[in-house]
């Protein structure tokens, strides 16, 4: 950009004019902020106020804008100017609304406002207008991996919306598990009887859809690229490989049943009359084909007495088997019991359960089974024994507390074994970790994928491994509540039971959502814009090659596998995969990574712009780096609720705590701040971090900063990290005040004035 012409616009509305001396603020903007133009307005977000700004922009008087008014989260429509950098000084939510409206408080409130003006002026000067990535991928085809109900649904939904789809199925036919079912659990009123599966309908619909191309007996043997420009090798059983380009990928690789061979105490493998739920479906299909009743596998006699064992190898507290509940199998057993009762009411059907979990309308289905005479027994099955041509089920009756309850003369036992995801290879299983030692701080352990037990599904060529990262129990990582479809690989969406255990109804809904996400991805990618969660963001990280020490830290720490390496071990940023979190920027020890509008300098300049009073003023300065996704909105809302907090704090929003570079902390402490607070999202298995690993990495880095503090002869309390959720509205001011108290206790930073 040519000459910098900074315009600062100070609003007097919303009580700002009453509480602050705006004329004095104008002087600060002019003298210290070096603004060429300063305007005050009674109502800046009004049409007239906005027009004032537009006029000076159009007249060329100004090419950088500071708006000193409300929070950057307010009035975003009004203060939206193209091709110009804008910084906001939050005088409303976080200055006047957090301070008491008393004559005594005026001085400190005014000082706060002046600092925020200095900070915004300093920030905007370091910002540049981001230009869309030049490497935008414009392919809008969707690849769907897996031809079960989830995959077929995603394919059909994307096709219906006008997108071309490639549907890859490993076996010789579409349909997946559902094709192996005799009937499905009812999904609409009156929820009373098993109904036909949707498989034939879906297959027929796919056959009629010209936008869908089906690859049977095929797998994806290589996947590279990024949203809008993936390149995928589809290899047929014959070995024939075709390379196709797609814009987004839906991974619907489904589930496998937990292996019942691991449950010999329940008789599996010992008697052919003990089957899992899939085994029973096969028997039911065969019976239907023969026009006969369901027969015992051992001798072909009609089944007269069947026992269903719920949670077989599931919800196992010992951890030997699955510890989770698959959620669908209670209803599935009820459905299967009805196969018998609907054919012959005299067949004894007994479902032995510990908790019958039939969510939603499953409750009606359960009641219907009771009406049909299916027996339900609350108990824990201990053993299934086979003797004299029939089976005996031994269980602990939990209602009658009878440890030695039995059902004898049983013809068939069905085990409800539950789903395990087909998520390919676990890329985070570590073999001998590679050490990345760069001489800057602690060494990083670079995870090296172990040779897979499970074959890879996607065979990604990413530096970080060939499949999607997993969270718990091998299901692909996604945030259960906030962004369930997002995996940690941009433009690749997991759907169906590979994501979490689910039934057909849920899978269809899930797959429809995944199709929509894929469409969003190809559309955003074609415009060179970020996908979730900074959707629409045009900025992307770049690095200064000359400064880079090839330490690999960014590559390793990027939560989304966006960074590969070139032959010389320099990082290669795949903008399409990048979520713009800035974690790489926070990681880089030599600070060569930056965004046009967010960098080590934009934040560093703000930190330095704050006026730090001397040691004897009794006016400490606290720096608060707040995650813009949760902590910053919580702070704003605390202001809206007029919850007061210390006037000594200066808050800077960051994209993610992961983007916090430790240089900011040491700079702040070196220049006399008395303490630094970092507020980010919860991390761990039930993380709330929008960038999955950002807050965790920040926490890790801060745990290492203690040494630096010791080196400076500073107390470790000078830096504190907090987990804050967007709902912690009452808590954040409390945290600030408690911390201010703490700092008062330990005293001022001895570095002031140096």
């Amino acid at each position: 950009m040519s000459e910098v012409k900074l315009g600062t616009y100070i609003c007097r509305g919303c009580g700002i004019g009453d509480r602050l001396d705006t004329a004095a603020l104008s002087v600060v903007a002019q003298k210290e902020g070096k603004a060429q133009l300063v305007r005050e307005h009674d109502f800046l977000c009004s049409a007239d106020g906005v027009a004032t700004i537009r006029q000076s922009l159009e007249g060329g008087e100004v090419n950088q804008v500071v708006i000193a008014a409300c929070s950057r989260r307010s009035k975003t429509e009004a203060f939206n100017f193209e091709n110009v950098t804008v910084a906001r000084a939050n005088l409303r939510e976080q200055v006047i609304w957090t301070q008491p409206d008393t004559p005594e408080a005026r001085e400190l409130t005014q000082e706060m406002a002046a600092d925020y003006i200095r900070m915004a002026c300093a920030e905007v000067k370091k910002m540049h207008v981001p230009a869309a990535s030049a490497n935008a991928g414009t392919n809008k085809r969707v690849l769907v991996v897996g031809g079960g109900v989830s995959g077929m649904t995603s394919a059909l939904e994307a096709a219906k919306a006008g997108y071309e789809v490639l549907l890859v199925e490993k076996t010789g036919a579409l349909g997946g598990w559902t094709a192996k079912l005799y009937k499905r659990i009812p999904f609409r009123e009156p929820y009373a009887d098993p109904v036909e599966t949707p498989v034939h309908e879906l297959i027929a619909a796919i056959g009629k859809e010209p936008r869908i191309k089906v690859f049977l007996n095929s797998t994806t043997t290589r996947t590279s690229g990024s949203p809008g420009q993936f390149s995928v090798d589809i290899t047929a059983e014959s070995g024939n490989t075709m390379t196709e380009n797609v814009g987004a990928i839906v991974m619907a690789s489904g589930f496998s049943l937990y292996d019942a061979n691991k449950l010999p105490h329940l008789g599996y493998g010992k008697s052919p009359d003990v089957v899992d739920q899939a085994g029973l479906e096969a028997l039911a299909l065969k019976a239907a084909a023969d026009g006969a009743r369901i027969r015992r596998p051992s001798d072909g006699r009609e089944v007269k007495n069947v026992v269903f064992v719920q949670c077989a190898g599931q919800r196992d507290a010992s951890g030997e088997h699955l510890t989770y509940c698959s959620g669908y199998c209670c209803n599935a057993s009820i459905k299967q019991a009805m196969y018998f009762k609907d054919a012959n009411r005299d067949i004894d059907t007994n479902i032995i359960y510990t908790d019958l979990r039939t969510p939603g309308n499953g409750e009606d289905f359960y009641r219907s089974a009771q009406k049909k005479g299916v027996s339900f027994t609350k108990g824990r099955v201990k053993a299934v024994e086979s003797a004299g041509g029939s089976l005996t089920v031994r269980f602990h009756d939990l209602i009658l507390n009878d440890e030695r309850a039995t059902v004898t003369g049983v013809d068939l036992v069905v085990l409800a074994t539950g789903q395990i995801p087909n998520s390919g290879m676990n890329i985070e299983l570590k073999a001998e970790p590679e050490k990345a030692d760069d001489g800057h701080g602690p060494s990083v352990e670079v995870p090296v994928p172990v040779p897979p037990k499970a074959a890879s599904v996607l065979n990604l060529t990413y530096r970080q491994g060939p499949d999607l990262p997993q969270l718990k129990y091998g299901f692909t990582d996604s945030h259960f509540i906030c962004f369930p479809y997002e995996t940690r690989r941009s433009g690749i969406y997991a759907t169906g039971p590979v994501r979490r255990p689910m039934d057909l109804v849920q899978a269809v809904e899930d797959a429809t959502g995944a199709a929509l996400k894929a469409i969003q991805a190809v559309e955003n990618a074609s415009l060179g814009r970020a996908l979730h969660p900074r959707s629409g963001d045009l900025s992307f990280p770049s690095f200064r090659r000359e400064g880079c020490t090839q330490c690999k830290r960014c590559t390793v720490e990027c939560p989304f596998g966006a960074i590969d390496e070139d032959e010389q071990r320099y990082p290669v940023f795949n903008e399409g995969r990048c979520r713009r979190c800035g974690t790489c920027m926070g990681a880089c020890p030599v600070r060569v990574i930056s965004f046009e509008n967010y960098s080590v300098d934009t934040v560093g300049a703000q930190i330095k712009a704050v006026d730090v009073p001397d040691e004897f003023s009794e006016k400490p300065r606290l720096l608060l780096l707040a995650c813009e996704n949760d902590a910053y909105p919580a702070l704003d809302m605390a202001g809206m609720n007029r919850l007061q907090s210390s006037a000594f704090v200066r808050t800077i929003p960051v994209r993610c705590l992961g983007s916090v570079n430790t240089i900011w902390i040491t700079d702040a402490l070196n220049s006399g701040y008395d303490g630094v607070m970092l507020m980010g999202c919860k991390h761990g298995d039930d993380y709330q971090c929008h960038f999955v690993k950002g807050s965790e990495l920040a926490d890790y880095r801060m745990s290492k900063i203690d040494d630096t503090l010791k080196g400076l002869n500073l107390e470790p309390e000078r830096v504190r990290t907090y987990e804050v959720a967007i709902t912690d509205i009452a808590r954040v001011p409390q945290l600030i005040n408690d911390y201010a108290e703490k700092i008062k206790e330990i005293g001022m930073n001895p570095f002031k004035g140096f």
């Binding site: 009641r367 027996s375 339900f376 609350k378 009756d397 209602i399 009658l400 009878d402």
Partner: protein, 210 residues
Amino acid sequence: MTELNHKMVEQYRNDFLKEVEANVEEGDWVKMCMQCGVCSGSCPFGPDWEHPPQEIFMMIRAGKRDEVLRSESMWMCTSCYNCIVRCPRELPITHIMHGLANYAHRLGIAPKMNPTRRFAKIFWDNIAKNGRVNELDLSVKLYFMDGFKKGVKRAIEMSTVGLGMLKTGRLNPFGLVAHRGCKDKKGIQKMLKKARELEDRRRGLATRGA
């Protein structure tokens, strides 16, 4: 009496649930219980029952015929209707409890000395005879059911209540010798006999019993 019991055991073999469904008032609701335990938790007598309603239902399904029918539990029910109001599956629990008690009694296997059973029997005989309760006769029989000494003691304990009833005309002091009964005693008795016959036929029970 136990002849009938034998007959039922033969007829239903292992399937006590079926027996209950066919012979106990509202018995076909038993299978609908989902074992939530709300009834047992709601029952003011819950802690005093050996087998509270939820457990009784489970025992029926588990085929524990003797334990259920010989139990004192369902005789504890005071018809407060708490359980019916709260049962998420809308089982008529109170009625089933009385139905079970009644069935056990008919089979002759209800606990002989259970006070509720004895009171019910005295009450029924009293009212069925005359078509109207004879309070004095009922009280005397009730107080003296455990022998003369206990009877006198109970009568003295209850004397203020008795006097109150006398004053308000709720107790005929000459009831033992001159109870009027209702107008058509014979008609009432015939009606009750017919009703019993109809019910027994419906249930396939032999026409006899208590």
